[in-house]
Each structure stands twice: as structure tokens, then as C-alpha cells.
């Protein structure tokens, strides 16, 4: 009896990353062999109180066609029926969605692992308590600086002190808390300090990786993207801190950028779906393609659409164009139905 580890993080969704050894091990367990997705990334709403320069979703105002509470709960029922083990909820800012706790209670009530990704600014003591009751896999709080000045320069209208207080409140309430840090030219120099800050707050894990050239980040790419030299220092610090905090705090980093990821996904798509607030389902974050609509089709049908979509000439050709010209990543939110 063997157990084969896909020793790769899921932060950019399931299936192994571009690693030849793992590909060989997993030959025969491609994404289309899975009866349903292993993971759902669900952008619950579009509303957000911030205007982050690097927002993948270009979030801000809510849109009129977002899924209603009833539609959202019907989707949850389908997640349960298809035995999908893991869901991550984000937004927008998901805590601004009026039915977030109904959704979370349904998912957790059916013993599905659940992560919530938030800016932390709506987590007071009472909300931290409610989140604790859900026994979540984790709450991930975005913290893009070790100082208020840096964090708020990138996260417009952001409140660094509020996000830090949220982390502390979550930890006090024994919620598995993680911090996400996106490196940019503005904040990459604070990587060492923010990891130390994360540890001092007692969080479970620290997540980072190269900034994704999607959405608003793609539009602001020239002012945001760190240089190769900055990245080298950044990864050196990560390595040093990973060793320093081994056994005390998890430090995860995803080493690939979006283009590297797309090259791999073209060959080996992940067993996951990305659901956007209006119920449409994207093939993958960096591409504009929509492979289904939860308001019109079942999740099961959309999973079949997803498998076929990756083979379509339109998708393959456009993905190759994006790989050749990453500026096209700015189109990731100009949805195209396929």
C-alpha cells in the first residue's frame, strides 16, 4: 500500500505544481479523473470598503446580479452533494455580505473544511467569537505591511491597526489565523518585519508568493511589480525566516508567477472551480473564460463543462497568447463565455 504525496500547496488551487517528479508520480490521476472538484474558491460578493492597488478581483461596489441568499445556499447544497471537501470564501470583502454566516454555517454544518479570506476590518470581538464557533480551517487576514504607512499605501482606505487588532482577536478566540502578504515595490522591504510581527501575534501561518498580474494588479503592474533583485532578497529572507520559525509558525510561499502557472495549467488544470459573485464559474483566475453559470446549470454540469473547456482551441490559443504577452492578463476580468 502506497501513499503518494502531492507535496504542493493549494493556495493557487489543487493538483501539483510544475514539478516533473510529481507529475510522474501522479500520472493517471489527472483533473478529469476526479468525479467532482476537490476545491471551490468562491468570491461571495464584490463589495469592498477598500480600493487595493493590487486587487485581483477589482472589487469595490456590489453588483446587481450577485447570487441571492437562496441561490448561495442552493449552491452550498450542491457542494455537499458532490462531496467537495474544501471551500475558500473571499470577496470583495466577504464579511460585508449579509448572508455570509448562513453560508458558513451550512458548509461547516456539513463538515466541509472552510477558509475565509478577509481584510479583517470587520472582525471585532463579537465577530471573532462567531467565527470561532464555526471551527473554520482558518481565517486569512490580508496584511500588506509591517507598518500602517506601508499597508495603507497599497490598500487604499485600509486600516492597518484594525487588521492587526482582528488578528489578535482571532488568535485570542482560538481561530486558526493566517496572514497573507502580497509583495510589491511598496512593501517588499518589510518582509522580515512582518513575519516577525505575525509570529509575535501568535498566528498559525504566514502566506506569500509573487504578486499575481491579474485585475487591478495588472493595470498597476509597472508601479507594483518588484524587480528580480528585490524578489531575490525577498525569497532569501523567506528561507531564513522559514528556518527560524520552523515548528512555531508555518511559512508558506508559492514560488511561481502567473505565467509559469498558466504554462502548467494548460497541461494539467486543477481539480477546482472559481465561482464569482454572480454565480458564474471561471476556468481560472488569470483567464477571462467563463465555463458555467450556477443560476442556470448544476454544479455537476459545470464541472463537466470545465473539463471540456480546457481542451477548446479558443482557450488554448488565448492562454498561449497570454504566456507570450503577459500584458493580456489585464483582460482577466473581461469575462468571455465559452
Amino acid at each position: 500500500m502506497d501513499i503518494l504525496a502531492e507535496d504542493k500547496k493549494l493556495s493557487r488551487l489543487t493538483n501539483p505544481g510544475p514539478d516533473d517528479e510529481l507529475r510522474a508520480i501522479l500520472k493517471g490521476s489527472n483533473f478529469d479523473d476526479y468525479k467532482s472538484p476537490l476545491f471551490i474558491a468562491w468570491q461571495l460578493n464584490s463589495a469592498c470598503n477598500l480600493g487595493c492597488l493590487h486587487c485581483c478581483e477589482e472589487a469595490g461596489h456590489s453588483t446587481p446580479d450577485e447570487m441571492t441568499q437562496k441561490q448561495a445556499l442552493d449552491f452550498c447544497r450542491q457542494i455537499v452533494d458532490l462531496d467537495i471537501p474544501y471551500v475558500a470564501i473571499s470577496g470583495g470583502e466577504p464579511l460585508l455580505c449579509p448572508h455570509i454566516f448562513d453560508v458558513c454555517e451550512f458548509i461547516r454544518g456539513n463538515d466541509i473544511s472552510l477558509k475565509i479570506e478577509t481584510n479583517g476590518e470587520f472582525i471585532d470581538e463579537q465577530t471573532a467569537g462567531k467565527l470561532a464557533e464555526l471551527k473554520l480551517r482558518s481565517v486569512q487576514v490580508s496584511l500588506d505591511g509591517a507598518t500602517a504607512e506601508t499597508h495603507e499605501r497599497l490598500r487604499l482606505r485600509g486600516d492597518w491597526a484594525g487588521a492587526v487588532a482582528a488578528c489578535k482577536s482571532l488568535v485570542e478566540n482560538e481561530v486558526n489565523t493566517e496572514i497573507v502578504f502580497v509583495p510589491t515595490k511598496f512593501n517588499i522591504h518589510e518582509i522580515s518585519d512582518i513575519i516577525d510581527l505575525a509570529y509575535s501575534m501568535g498566528v498559525y501561518g504566514f502566506y506569500t508568493g509573487k504578486i499575481m498580474r491579474i485585475g487591478r494588479a495588472a493595470k498597476n503592474w509597472d508601479i507594483l511589480c518588484p524587480s528580480d533583485e528585490e524578489y531575490k532578497k525577498f525569497f532569501d529572507v523567506l528561507q531564513e525566516k522559514t528556518a527560524k520559525y520552523e515548528g512555531k509558525m508555518k511559512i508558506y510561499h508559492y514560488p511561481y508567477d502567473v505565467v509559469e502557472e498558466l504554462k502548467y495549467r494548460l497541461e494539467c488544470p486543477s481539480a477546482s472551480l472559481l465561482v464569482i459573485p454572480n454565480g458564474k464559474v471561471k476556468l481560472i483566475g488569470p483567464l477571462p473564460f467563463i465555463c458555467g453559470d450556477l443560476k442556470k446549470e448544476s454544479l455537476s454540469q459545470i464541472w463537466e463543462n470545465y473539463k471540456k473547456a480546457w481542451q477548446k482551441t479558443e482557450v488554448v490559443d488565448f492562454t498561449r497568447k497570454v504566456i507570450a504577452d503577459p500584458k493580456l492578463l489585464a483582460e482577466s476580468n473581461n469575462w468571455r463565455e465559452i
Binding site: 500500500m1 502506497d2 501513499i3 503518494l4 504525496a5 502531492e6 507535496d7 504542493k8 500547496k9 493549494l10 493556495s11 489543487t14 493538483n15 501522479l26 493517471g28 490521476s29 479523473d33 476526479y34 468525479k35 476537490l38 462531496d83 471537501p85 474544501y86 466541509i112 473544511s113 471551527k135 480551517r137 482558518s138 486558526n176 508555518k250
Partner: protein, 85 residues
């Protein structure tokens, strides 16, 4: 012996997937591994599992025991299960 919280197990046609959603790692086992996982899910302890496999399969019981213990160690070292006995 039981699964660590947030570890999920799902049967697929190519084997059984063990998804440690906390570390976001995926493991895949063969059919006998899947049987052991199922017995763990049913709340069986290690000696019970070894006995049941010994009864189900032809072959040297000592080898079955050794392989089962090795598999359980692997599950434990990957933080998939915790051993209570």
C-alpha cells in the same frame, strides 16, 4: 486512531484521495490503503485493522502487519491521523 481535523478522504476511480486541507496537501493511496482509511473512519484501532486485513487477504500475516504499521506511520508522519493507543 482517528483523522486529524480538516483531513478529508474521498474515493475516486483511480484510488482514494486524502486531502489535508490544513496544509493543502493531497495524498493518493491504492486500494489496500483505501481499505485501511475506511477502517480508520469506522473507528477501528490498529490491532483491529491488522487482524481484519489478515483475515481478508492471503499471505504472511507478519508481512501484512509490518506493511500496515508502516502505512500507519506514514499517515502519522504526514499528520493525517493521530494515534491514541
Amino acid at each position: 486512531m482517528n483523522f486529524i481535523e480538516h483531513t478529508k478522504v474521498r474515493k475516486e476511480k483511480f484510488g482514494t484521495v486524502v486531502f489535508d486541507t490544513l496544509t493543502e496537501k493531497i495524498f493518493i493511496t491504492d486500494q489496500i490503503g483505501a481499505e485501511i482509511l475506511q477502517l480508520i473512519e469506522q473507528g477501528k484501532n490498529l490491532p483491529q485493522i491488522i487482524n481484519m486485513l489478515g483475515d481478508s487477504y492471503d499471505g504472511d500475516k507478519q508481512i501484512i502487519k509490518k506493511d500496515t504499521l508502516a502505512f500507519a506511520d506514514e499517515l502519522k508522519s504526514n499528520n493525517i491521523i493521530e494515534l491514541q493507543e
